[in-house]
Amino acid sequence: MLDLLAARPPGPTYLTVEHVTKRFGGFTALHDVSLSVGAGEFVSFLGPSGCGKTTLLRAIAGLDMASSGRITQAGRDITALPPAERDFGIVFQSYALFPNLSVVGNIGYGLRGAAWPREKARARVAELIATVGLEEHAQKYPSQLSGGQQQRVALARALANRPGLLLLDEPLSALDAIVRQRLRTEIRAVQKALGVTTIMVTHDQEEALSISDRIVVMNAGRIEQIGTPEAVYRHPASAFVASFVGRSGSFDAMVEPLGRLRAGNISLGSDAVASLPAGAAARAFIRPEDVKLGPAAEAYPGAFMAIVGGVEFLGPFCRIHLLVEGVTLEADVPSDQMRGLNLANSARVLVAVPADKVMAYPHG
């Protein structure tokens, strides 16, 4: 079930994908995919490897043509156009920088022909080098640059022609964690400053959540959900999205009347099961930050006792593994509150989950 409101871009539409299917021989990589991207919007395609997100990006770029369906960019049907006749810039996972050309040569590579007389092209390259902060490295070759610097060259090269659409194919996956976080902020800043419509493919949910206006969650060649980062995180449209985006403990349960879920001896109130028939099998998901422990749980009706199975120290908070009647749950507790709670191994602790925080989906 798609959240139809979130599935539409907030402003005027720039790019539309309608019923696109892509087959490689007998394998169907994309099943009837439809979405639209608003002008100036930053949209991420998120999913596990092999979910079709890169295939969809390459269909939009024309690098692998769609088998059927229609793709419209700025009102023009581009479905069958070769890449050279489309209007986009792309950053590849490998960056595909030309190793024998300097930073200047790479960024100015596409600035040729009547539209870019020499002086104008030179000024544009200088402007882009300043934008991505590589003034000191302008004459270096790619192999003399760090991974993050190479990534910036690739970004500048993709933006050089002032394309209407910027495509990013896992642009940060080759970098280490600290550089990755800094660069994603930079990419977002550049994108906002230029107002260029952008699509990024990523398998890193944190990256998608932090950078995007909207996220398209994909699995097995289909779209699972389209929505804002908050909507995708707070209101996953399917069990797949709930398990893939964000962390959660999950267990099998049965739907009981009056909006309750039963797993073994515990019974939980869940707003999510209102639409499910009583007796139906369900899969429940609970995010660790939504689990209340000890005194905080006392205020909730239906609180139950659990046994602490282990404590992981993760810096700002600790993750508590809880065992209840064969069901395992996880709870996050801020590190400075740990002292107040007796959470030694095998200790018994009172647990509660607010009914609006228990996510449940039909199972089977």
């Binding site: 309608e18 009837d32 059927s68 070769p82 590849f92 024998n100 050309l101 596409g110 993709a158």
Partner: protein
């Protein structure tokens, strides 16, 4: 939800260029490789008038004692040569890659020396030493060098660099971690050798054996010069076709010659399939430590091999400058006055250089473009697969067979391309196709090192594919391109078997002139001509090394960190 109509991708300019180039490549290989070979097959089942005779030619072949004997001779001579060359080359390559002997660059250079000379050169040197007027005739204990003894020794010299090169490549890629792990497990040296070194070199050993075997079976020059009355397949097929104009039996012998080569090709493929990837990205190169018990014997072996290789070349060069071997040992340039021995004179060398130059220039362009289109063409239809297969075929087709196929195909009165027969163009085309596969594989390896998204990136930037080819692909691949250029030139200069059927009265290459002068009893002039071929190739190789450095600095500056 209505099913939308299938998308018909519109081919862009880049794609049309690639498609066109692929069609040209397919046409080229069909015309100058596949059709001639197919015609060879057809002719084997026809009589002289072109009527279908079934297996009659094969029956005639089997029942002609001279022919059957020559097949057996070829096989055992080739087998014996492989048995001698491959272990020797293995030890030599092992010394170059897995020991700490001094002078490795020198040994490496000497190892390649025979490649630069026609195969006839070692045979001529042997005749100086052990022939009827040979200085060391006594060493053979009364046996004649003209025959299997001479063929085998000359072939060992001729094939050694090919085997040593393959094996040193196979042994070069060693993962040091495996040896460290074995040492940590307290494994002895012999067991390390049999469990780590040998398995990783299995493919190289099979490949070297196959290459040597095929080279010997299909080499014409050595058997012609030093074979005496000892019949082998290569000389028999020449007699049948050129001597007796018996094209149909010639076609049958061609097919018989094809068998060991194709068999070897399949064997090599099989070994390649079994060879697990030895080196991963995380491998640590193996760095041998000094160990005298290993290094001293290996150094002595390398010295012996180097002395042998250098003296063979030296004897040939010296002999070519001797007035009258062995009675008047004063030095003279008289033997280099080729006009006295052969009507073409020095023109033969000029023609060879022109032919080799054209082969190198056209061949490098064709090989590299075809490899590029195959690797980077967007649409990979069945045609691309066929072209890829055709490009790998020449490796399994001996030069003699290809020459035979050409003479049958282009001599056919009905062939509109018959005008090529006897021209320089057919010599160039034949040499080009003959040496195609090794060049193709070199080009493919170079292109595969490039990021696969270069063409996509340039398309997204609105830059046509030919411009990116010119600005990025070519400069990066320049070292490989030069390598192909030199390889084609050197091989076209020295080849005998591929062109022996094809030269015309005005297009006689130097390598053929060597055969003719030797046949006419002018072995000193033949040695002189062989030496000039060697000198030209050596000059080019040195130029390549010198220029290579400069070009490297000019185009490969980006590789430096």
């Amino acid at each position: 939800m209505a099913e939308l109509a299938l998308v018909r991708p519109r081919a862009g300019r880049d794609q049309r260029i690639m498609q066109g180039a692929l069609l040209l490549a397919a046409g080229f290989l069909a015309l100058f490789l596949v059709l001639p070979l197919a015609w060879l097959l057809v002719r084997a089942f026809q009589d002289a008038e072109g009527g279908f005779v079934g297996l009659a030619n094969f029956a005639a072949y089997v029942t002609t004692p001279a022919l059957a004997a020559s097949a057996w001779n070829s096989l055992w001579v080739a087998g014996l040569t492989s048995l001698l060359v491959v272990p020797l080359a293995f030890c030599f390559a092992y010394a170059l890659t897995r020991s700490r002997i001094p002078g490795k660059p020198f040994f490496r250079a000497v190892m390649l020396l025979p490649v630069l000379a026609p195969s006839l050169l070692p045979a001529l040197a042997l005749i100086y030493l052990f022939g009827n007027q040979g200085m060391l005739r006594g060493w053979l204990l009364g046996h004649s060098v003209y025959g299997p003894i001479g063929i085998v020794i000359a072939q060992v010299f001729y094939c050694f660099p090919h085997a040593a090169l393959i094996l040193s490549v196979a042994l070069a890629g060693a993962d040091g971690r495996l040896y460290e792990a074995a040492a940590a497990l307290k494994v002895g040296r012999w067991r390390m050798f049999t469990t780590i070194t040998l398995p990783s070199a299995t493919y190289g050993l099979v490949s070297a054996s196959v290459v040597v075997f095929t080279l010997v079976v299909t080499d014409f020059g050595i058997a012609k010069v030093i074979g005496g009355q000892f019949p082998v397949l290569a000389t028999e097929v020449y007699k049948q076709v050129v001597g007796q104009q018996n094209f149909n039996i010639g076609a049958v012998v061609g097919i018989v010659l094809l068998l060991p080569a194709v068999g070897g090709f399949l064997l090599e493929r099989w070994a390649q399939g079994r060879q697990a990837g030895v080196l991963s990205g995380r491998s640590v190169p193996y760095a041998p430590k000094v160990r005298l018990a290993r290094d001293v014997p290996l150094l002595l072996l390398c010295l012996a091999v180097a002395v042998a290789l250098l003296s063979v070349v030296g004897i040939a060069a010296w002999g070519s400058a001797i007035r009258f071997w062995p009675y008047n040992l004063t030095l003279t340039w008289a033997n280099y006055d080729f006009g006295r021995f052969d009507s073409a004179g020095w023109d033969a060398l000029l023609l060879s250089a022109r032919m080799a130059g054209l082969t190198a220039l056209c061949g490098t362009a064709i090989v590299f473009l075809v490899a590029y289109v195959l690797e980077r063409g967007v649409v990979q239809g069945p045609l691309a697969g066929l072209v890829r297969f055709a490009a790998s075929m020449p490796l399994a087709v001996p030069g003699l067979v290809l020459g035979l196929a050409y003479i049958l195909f282009f001599n056919e009165p009905l062939n509109p391309l018959g005008f090529l027969y006897g021209t320089l163009a057919i010599l160039v085309l034949n040499s080009l196709v003959h040496f195609y596969t090794v060049c193709h594989l070199t080009a493919v390896a170079a292109i595969r090192q490039l990021d696969p998204e270069f063409e996509s990136a340039s398309a997204s930037l609105g830059v046509p594919v030919w411009l990116t080819f010119w600005r990025v692909t070519l400069p990066i691949c320049l070292p490989a391109i030069l390598e192909i250029l030199v390889y084609l030139f050197v091989n076209a200069m020295t080849t005998v078997s591929a062109v022996i059927f094809l030269y015309g009265p005005d297009t006689k290459p130097a390598s053929i002139a060597v055969v003719h002068m030797d046949e006419a009893g002018q072995s000193s002039a033949a040695a002189a001509m062989a030496c000039t071929i060697l000198a030209v190739n050596l000059g080019l190789k040195l130029l390549h090394l010198a220029m290579g450095g400069a070009i490297e600095r000019w185009t490969q500056g980006w590789r430096r960190r």
